[in-house]
Amino acid sequence: MKFKSLLLLFLIAILSIALIACSEKESAGENPSSKDNEGETNTDIDPFDHSEKYSITGMTFRFGDPPPTKSPGLDLINEKFNIEYNPQIIPQGDYVEKSSAIVAGGDMPDLVGFQANDFRFYQWAEQGAFLPLDDFLHHFETLGGIPDHIYDAFKVDGKIYGIPRYSQPYPLTPMVRKDWLDNLGLEMPTNYEELKAVAIAFTNEDPDQNGEDDTYGIAIGENINPNFNMGAYWDASAWYHQNDEGQYIPGIISEGRKELIQFFADLYETGAMTKDFAVLNWADTNAEFYSGKAGIFVGGVAGMSEDYMKGLLEIDPDAEFVSIPPFEAPDGSQGFTMGSGNSGILALNANMADDLGKIYRSLELVDYGKKFFPKDQRNPDNPDFDWMWGLEGTGYNMEDGNPVRVPNFSSDGLAPSTYFLDNREHIPSDSQPRYADDYSLPAMKDLVNSLQDMFESGQLYINPANGVISETEQDKGADLLQFIMNEQAKMIAGQRPVSDWDNLVEEYLQRGGADIINEVNEGINNKDYTDHQWD
């Protein structure tokens, strides 16, 4: 029958597509071992020889809009590196799904970006999809300068497979309206009791002195964010506390967190924190503070929005901000938690292994995107910087000695910088940038300086869970975190008593938390982290 043969044809077609997809994956898996050996035999190639033209593809995620696929910035890169560069820049929210589909479709690009702690990186590296980088990194200025202890987090079976995307070691920490403190004659708080008193005073005593009851203490949004930890002891995301068996436990179920939740519950009752925090997104939470309603929020040395700050200064020109120093914890410790050291990972496709020239060219490209330009070199006199920002007059203009991007800088893809998969400058640990230099508003400079001085004069806790991967955490972590956040939000709002804390912890452990703790502690032991480490 005609139909039957058609059906047969159809099934064969499906089967063959499936086979092609599978076989491509397998071949990717077989490559790495053969590649290792060749890397050793061919090291006499000059890594910076540009005579051969290569085609390099890549994909990564980005917050914000992807740039166009044809542009002056891309042309500059192709010309400089003698490559045919084809980066796919995918909106962050869709990245996991789209990149999985692309890889399953058999087209893994030469360079693959991951968000921090993406389990797929470790999984695929184990399956041999990526190239071990140990033998190559030392040729490159920035990549070779990244300390080994940071690369440790990207090792699988002892080999480096990933390149970290830089992130601030300094966390976001609480800040307070200094002008409000001064108006009410209050001192900088040094413990949660005093902080509570300040928040309540901000609510009841008209700190902006406009005669209206229109202010309150702490701006906070959904997922109890920011978490207002005043040190690692209270940090929900740090593994600081230990259980009876000596295992580290996540901050979210610790004694410190319980104390903090009680603190919030007290504030909620008195109206000294955002009432509808449970449904407020991050932008709205920012708006609570930057519209002059709340007096306590968080700030960081990098990534602050001057537009928001400008808006607040228009409403209240006298506004001043200052960071709150860490509180002394019941166990005597004092200090915030250090950042994890990376905000993303970049890996190279294993099928490049036979082509040493292409490996070097790809790494040169990656290395260039991460190059750090100190303040005195961010001008057209530095040809590398000028190139990176798309040449003066096209990509940027100098105003008061500072480079300022033109408005269509990224939407029209004017500069190479936009197209590097990892275009975050890797600040070397020996350089001492003043973060305030990046801002123009005096109030912002003061705040950033106060934060940086505070971090530099104190200690930061090194979170033992950094770079430790737990399969259960990947599997259930997000749901579990959401669950416990919701329950803790109920405790704050008085719908569940804080005295029920031990039951909540028990629930957390039963729903997979216990497995996560075991797995993470195994990882912590493997890197010989025993006592609390500070830096």
């Binding site: 962050q92 869709d94 920011p226 994890s340």
Partner: protein, 291 residues
């Protein structure tokens, strides 16, 4: 007219009141979006807008209508919707009609159609099909993979079955062939069905966003929904769940712009409804009653 009892009057009043309340609940979000989109950012931040802008400002619209990406994506969506709906209607009606005739293997084909209705392939297999047919990064990727909706096909076939066989026989006697019967007899009789399914398909195309994200690599080809999502949601990092990687950069544009974008992206397809409402209501009942 018979005199109505007091109870009936009370019931009617109460009913009207309740329905008005329900209507208000439905209209309120639209009104809010509308008001915010015409307000200034500072009015919005001070929470002064509830139902009506304090001061009419068109900044948000100027910003959006001045954005090349937004306008371009609107055209892309109109194109995909128009071409896509035409393709949908063509294939759904022709296949639906063919399946009412005595075609060899008709039952098997119907079974296959039903099968896809019950078990659909996941994202990755579909992606591979689209890729192997070289549709990646073309607008056809938004049209061809969903050229026929099995559900609509079956309902359409049911509708064709309800057209009396005698009409076709009469045309046959007059010397018409199958194509003529279909185009001259069946299609004109099926206008309400076509309008209803056209609307279903068009709304589907208009609102389709994930296919755009998945299959189109070039942002210049993105449909409006993807751009809209970029404006409204994507820029918001899920801060707390990201632990220390919380970022203060890449904050979304002000709410006024978000609201204006929402309104501009929704309005065109919303305007189609009143004109097709009549057919639409009819379409929902299609195939339910045979007669």
């Amino acid at each position: 007219m018979a005199k109505r009892s007091t109870g009936s009057k009370v019931f009617d009043t109460l009913n009207s009141f309740l329905l008005l309340l329900v209507a208000a609940v439905m209209i309120f979000p639209f009104l809010y979006v509308f008001s915010v989109s015409f307000s200034s950012v500072s009015d919005f931040l001070e929470n002064d807008i509830i139902l009506w802008p304090k001061e009419w400002v068109t900044d948000a619209y100027e910003y959006i209508l001045g954005s090349k990406a937004f306008i371009r994506s609107l055209f892309v969506t109109v194109y995909v919707t128009v071409v896509g709906t035409a393709v949908n209607l063509f294939f759904t009606s022709t296949m639906g009609y063919a399946l009412t005739r005595n075609v060899t293997g008709q039952r098997t084909i119907l079974f296959l159609v039903l099968f896809t209705l019950l078990f659909s392939a996941g994202m990755i297999p579909t992606y591979i099909v689209v890729k192997e047919t070289f549709l990646i990064n073309t607008l056809w990727a938004l049209i061809l993979p969903i050229a026929i909706s099995p559900f609509n096909l079956i309902v359409m076939r049911q509708f064709f079955l309800s057209i009396p066989e005698e009409l076709k026989e009469a045309a046959l006697i007059d010397g018409a062939n199958e194509i003529q019967i279909f185009s001259k007899i069946i299609l004109p009789l099926s206008k309400p069905a076509l309008a209803a399914f056209g609307l279903f398909y068009a709304v589907g195309h208009w609102n389709n966003y994930f296919a755009g994200v998945l299959y189109l690599n070039d942002p210049a080809k993105w449909p409006i929904q993807v751009i809209l999502r970029q404006i409204v949601i994507v820029n918001e990092p899920n801060a707390a769940l990201g632990g220390h990687e919380m970022s203060l950069e890449a904050l979304p544009p002000p709410e006024t712009i978000q609201m204006a974008a929402i309104l501009l992206a929704t309005l065109p397809i919303l305007l189609v409804y009143p004109f097709l409402q009549k057919h639409f209501a009819k379409g929902v009942m299609l195939g339910s009653v045979k007669g």
